[in-house]
């Protein structure tokens, strides 16, 4: 579904990604593990068109999307939920959600259906829909961020560190929800530092260090890997 082939990205003269090869298949939930500054967000920003690779190929559903504008990529079906609960804090929850459905703005009935689904997935957002998004708790803000991305009805959802700054109990609920979103048919690429939680729901994963993908494999492989255990799980 999504394929990165030898993708190299530079910020000015410094290389942020060194010929990265990565693949997400239809219906998969793939995790991308890495420490702060390893390049997870750079990969995401490259996939969603905010950064242009200097070399290599980004393909989505058989089409080369490297160099496409971000809005075209969203329309093609890849939607990013950026790191750090990036909301429009002064707007109500509902307005945040409808902005997420911007590319479907003419399809009023479709938006109403999406909202219905969102409220089933996150009932608390229905109660808070008129409140400014910035007044919600951290966990609820993360829900709004994910829900807003879902409003675009993505085929592939890019989730950038949804667990950052959340209490363990909330993280657990969050990952259950992500698992459910994936079961309902959306492919997910999940960037995480919290390897323990992420590897419970992902089948497959990659490990990135200093812009290099250093390891890839099935959940079991990653869980058994000494370095992953030491660096990310802490066992």
């Amino acid at each position: 579904m999504l394929k990165l082939i030898d993708v190299t990205v530079k910020y000015g003269s410094s290389t942020a990604l060194h010929s990265v090869n990565l693949e997400v298949n239809q219906g998969e939930l793939v995790v991308l593990l890495g420490a702060n500054g390893a390049g997870k967000s750079t990969i995401f920003r490259t996939i969603s068109g905010l950064l242009k690779p200097v070399s290599g190929q980004v393909a989505f559903m058989g089409q080369s999307i490297g160099g496409w504008s971000p809005d075209r990529i969203v329309k093609a079906g890849i939607v990013q939920c950026p790191e750090g609960r990036n909301l429009f804090p002064e707007m109500s929850v509902l307005k945040n959600l409808t902005l997420g459905a911007y590319i479907h703005r003419k399809d009023k009935a479709g938006i109403a259906r999406s909202l219905q689904n969102i409220y089933e997935l996150f009932p608390v957002l229905y109660e808070k829909k008129e409140q400014p998004a910035g007044s919600l708790s951290g966990g609820q803000q993360q829900m709004v961020a994910i829900a807003r991305a879902l409003m675009a009805r993505p085929k592939l959802l890019l989730l950038d560190e949804p667990s950052v700054g959340l209490a363990p109990l909330i993280v657990e609920q969050m990952f259950k929800t992500i698992e459910k979103i994936n079961r309902d048919g959306t492919s997910v690429l999940l960037a995480e530092q919290n390897a323990f939680a992420a590897l419970q729901i992902a089948r497959r994963g990659y490990v990135i260090e200093n812009g290099h993908l250093v390891l890839e494999g099935a959940r079991e492989t990653l869980c058994d890997n000494e370095e992953v255990r030491r660096a990310y799980i802490g066992a």
């Binding site: 969603s48 068109g49 905010l50 504008s69 971000p70 809005d71 969203v74 329309k75 939607v79 990013q80 950026p82 990036n86 429009f88 804090p89 002064e90 707007m91 109500s92 307005k95 409808t98 902005l99 997420g100 911007y102 590319i103 703005r105 008129e130 409140q131 400014p132 910035g134 007044s135 708790s137 951290g138 966990g139 807003r148 675009a152 700054g165 959340l166 209490a167 109990l169 909330i170």
Partner: protein, 343 residues
């Protein structure tokens, strides 16, 4: 004051007061003052759309005001066209120049855009001043005919007042509709974060172009009304000082609020009239006031007013934008206090 009436009622009441003023007074000083406030409010509200809502500080707007004014003046003086046609052409032409300027300048971001737009403003005002064969240069464009629509002649101050009030109300109505629409929210989303807006599928350049062109259209409309009212034009109306005056009105009234441009324009213009005998010294007073406002009332008078209303528990929450600007600040303040790590 315990009871704060809904803003809708305040607006309706002010509208009827504005309608009734010529019946209550025929003091030409006050009517002239109000007409000028309406005209500049239209221009400042245009600046507010691009600077306050879309977050791109444009300093070229005096230039667009000049284009609107000179287009109307020249069409009526040199081409003997009717007022309404000239008005329509001025607005469209200003928008077209705005589209070209926007296409070039909006590629830049942040301060670079502001500096570039400042240069564009200087270029536009120089063109108006130096193109003497067309604009008469510093001699000024004299003898703009009295505006006429059909058989109605707008020769008296009162009739001009109603003509300009009509366009002022129209502009504010359209502004309101835009701000509360999805289009308005895309502007705000770009102000918050262009990158975030793009990752939602919003074409940032297209949205910024739309905001910019619309804002120049308002500046052009204001300029054209100004030309039809004063019936004399000098190149100094397009000068960069006017762009900074507009910015002053906007900051005092409240940038990014619907009514800020009107409140700021009315207040500062009135103050300037009072201080007129001080002439050159008045900027010594305005400078520090502006610094204080930027420091303590970053969202101007309307922003501070919204904050006050928000803190008043007796008022039900409503979703008007003016009010939410205040909430945004509250949230940011909380973030600074470490609210990020809560669950």
């Amino acid at each position: 004051m315990r009871f704060v009436p809904g803003s809708k009622w305040v607006v309706a009441a002010l509208f009827f007061v504005a309608l009734a003023i010529p019946l209550l007074t025929d003091n030409s000083y006050y009517l002239n003052m109000l007409i000028m406030v309406f005209i500049w409010s239209i221009a400042v509200s245009g600046m507010n759309i691009i600077a306050g809502y879309a977050g791109q500080l444009s300093l070229a707007h005096a230039g667009f005001f000049g284009i609107g004014a000179y287009t109307l003046g020249l069409l009526m003086v040199k081409a003997q066209m009717s007022f309404l046609v000239s008005l329509a052409v001025s607005v469209v032409l200003t928008g077209m120049v705005g589209a070209v300027v926007g296409m070039i300048s909006l590629r830049l971001k942040g301060h670079y855009f502001a500096i570039f737009s400042l240069c564009m403003g200087v270029i536009l005002s120089l063109v108006i001043e130096k193109w003497e064969s067309l604009t008469e240069g510093v001699r000024g464009l004299l003898g703009i005919p009295v505006p006429k629509i059909g058989s109605v002649e707008f020769s008296t101050l009162t009739s001009q007042y109603y003509l300009i009030l009509f366009f002022f109300v129209l502009a504010m109505f359209v502004n309101r509709q835009i701000i509360h629409s999805l289009v308005g929210r895309t502007f705000i989303s770009i102000r918050n974060s262009e990158e975030l807006a793009e990752s939602l599928g919003i074409h940032a350049m297209k949205s910024k172009m739309l905001a910019f062109v619309y804002s120049t259209v308002l500046a052009g409309l204001a300029g054209a009304l100004y030309a039809g009212y004063l019936r004399f034009l000098g190149p100094e109306i397009a000068s960069i000082e006017h762009a900074f005056e507009m910015l002053l009105y906007l900051l005092v009234g409240g940038i990014g609020t619907l009514w800020g441009p009107v409140v700021g324009t009315a207040l500062v213009m009135t103050l300037m009239q009072w201080l007129q005998s001080w002439q050159d010294y008045r900027m010594i007073i305005f400078g520090p006031i502006l610094v204080l406002i930027v420091m303590f009332l970053p969202h101007g008078i309307m922003g501070a007013f919204a904050q006050l209303k928000k803190n008043q528990p007796s008022v039900l929450p409503d979703t008007t934008d003016d009010k939410n600007r205040g909430i945004e600040r509250g949230v940011n303040d909380r973030r600074l206090a470490g609210g990020e790590s809560d669950a």
